[in-house]
């Protein structure tokens, strides 16, 4: 079959790879209907995530049709249209049982790497480095889905493929940020980043009752999209002082909840960005935490900062003093999608959540390298490119 493979830093290629097979009794094989580019893919494409091998199939946000079912699968049958959570959870370890699915104890096939890097291994994720399990990614004609009874979800008939696709990762990630940050009625919430995850975090905050949601980015079409489709206020950080603007809009307090949805390759128009970029390129720090720093400084006293963006290692100039002296709660997580996906599909069917506007481009698998280039450079208004292996 054809698949999109990582071939080295900033090198992607569509190649012939062996078809996936059922390796465990709880697996299913899914024929891809659609997958999508994700900002976190850019980190591994750019060489910021270690433990990639040439020939690794990337992609983790997808929807497809079940074509083969393992002997122990109980909840799926051939022909089911399913959206699959990007993180794989066994469903029965303590973390899965407590709805902390991305921390699953039993789905990372390389646990020693995560334990050395982080002190504990994470759950496995499709197409995202051997440190995160080494499972083959979904930008392919077929993909093997382990523990499918827990990670694959039937899509109700009334929801179209493109809308449902984003329930695989970006919608639950955004929802989790607002939920675990404790957004409640009356809160003012600021969200850094107007990509798909940031937009969904803003939408979730509004649905959870936030009084005001303010989204921050620099890309005009993303700001406009967020304002129009999500219903959030926006700030263009290249046109104003974000901290001053947030203080002015919040009576001098600062936002109650700040959600960072940018990640390790954050941009900024401040001189600190050059410092961060130089240190990252020299591998003196692995990540650029520009938006995290700003969120911590902007947050009101005793507020909450939630880090949704992907970070891999160590950062410099982390404002720990602000965390302590302002009494902040700082929290982060990879996404616990299985916890939210059924509820999100229900909300989508009820018309509360709309995602189809995120799909600014649709391409075939052969065109995927070009789509990633466009996505990386945010050219042609690209927010998300949807990859349809079947055309």
């Amino acid at each position: 079959m054809k698949a999109l493979c990582w071939e080295g830093v900033n090198k992607l290629a569509v190649e012939d790879v062996p078809d996936p097979v059922l390796r465990n009794d709880q697996d299913v094989i899914v024929r891809l209907i659609a997958g999508t580019t994700c900002g976190s893919d850019l980190h591994l494409i750019g060489g910021y995530i270690p433990f990639m091998r040439s020939g690794d199939v990337i992609g983790h946000e997808f929807l497809g049709e079940v074509v083969e079912v393992g002997a122990a699968v109980r909840r799926h049958k051939v022909g089911d249209r399913v959206v699959v959570c990007s993180f794989v959870g066994c469903g029965r370890c303590w973390y899965c049982a407590n709805d902390l699915w991305s921390l699953c104890d039993n789905t990372n096939t390389n646990p020693g790497i995560g334990q050395a890097l982080f002190g504990a291994d994470t759950g496995g994720i499709f197409g995202y480095s051997h440190a995160m399990g080494g499972l083959r990614g979904s930008h392919a004609e077929y993909v093997r889905v382990p523990f499918a009874d827990y990670g694959a979800f039937p899509v109700p008939e009334g929801i179209d493929d493109t809308s449902a696709l984003f329930v695989s990762d970006s919608v639950p990630t955004g929802w989790m940020g607002a939920d675990l940050a404790g957004v409640k009625p009356g809160d003012v919430v600021a969200v850094w980043g107007c990509g798909a995850v940031g937009q969904m975090a803003a939408r979730a905050a509004l649905l959870l009752g936030a009084e005001r949601v303010i989204s921050i980015d620099r890309i005009p079409e993303r700001l406009e999209m967020t304002e129009r489709h999500v219903g959030s206020e926006v700030i263009d950080y290249t046109a104003t002082d974000v901290g001053a603007e947030l203080r002015e809009r919040t009576g001098g307090r600062g936002p109650d909840v700040c959600i960072e949805a940018v990640g390790m390759e954050a941009h900024s128009d401040s001189p600190v960005h050059l410092y961060d970029q130089a240190k990252q390129q020299l591998r003196l720090q692995t990540d650029r935490p520009t938006a995290v720093r700003q969120a911590i400084h902007a947050c009101r006293k005793a507020g909450t900062v939630f880090i949704l963006g992907v970070f891999a290692g160590a950062v410099d100039k982390f404002p720990l003093g602000a965390v302590i002296n302002k009494g902040l709660t700082v929290r982060g997580a990879q996404m616990h999608g299985q916890r939210y996906i059924p509820m999100l599909l229900d909300r989508m069917a009820a018309g509360e959540l709309s995602t189809s506007h995120l799909a600014t481009h649709t391409v075939t698998l052969d065109e995927a390298p070009r789509a990633y280039d466009m996505f990386k450079h945010k050219s042609d208004g690209c927010v998300r490119a949807v990859i349809r292996p079947g055309g």
């Binding site: 830093v9 433990f51 020939g55 029965r92 334990q115």
Partner: protein, 155 residues
Amino acid sequence: MTSRKSLWAAAAALAAGAVVVRRSTVRPADPAAADRWLTVTINRGPGDIQPDRLPAPLQEYGDRIETRIRPAPGDRGTELAVRLRQTRSGTSDSVPARLAGQDPRQDLRRALREAKSLLEAGEVLLPDAPPTTHDTPGGKLVGLLTRRAGGEGVL
């Protein structure tokens, strides 16, 4: 790009080295290391885990291991700990030995993880195969480390 690639390879090698070196550098400061239990917490009740009915990966060790089972606090399941009865030789946990997969604790650690997975999830998740269709020097290094990763770590 070339420099990025070499930097990436260096970063991967450094991070990779951490997998095997970290414990080596820590170990001399840990006088109890040789006798330390390898321990996991299993999300099953203590009654579900019996020393004479452990899953096959541990059962195969027979009398070569000691086993300790006790309830985990806070309704977190059951703690299962194992360690080899026979004291290891002085060099068995050296970095070269561990890279070669010759530290007996690597196999025991892998068996313990597999036992936990079998008790909780009913199966041990296997990686996709083949891992890649072609290899590079950097890929071979990652391949070596992933082959050892099941037996390495901090538990």
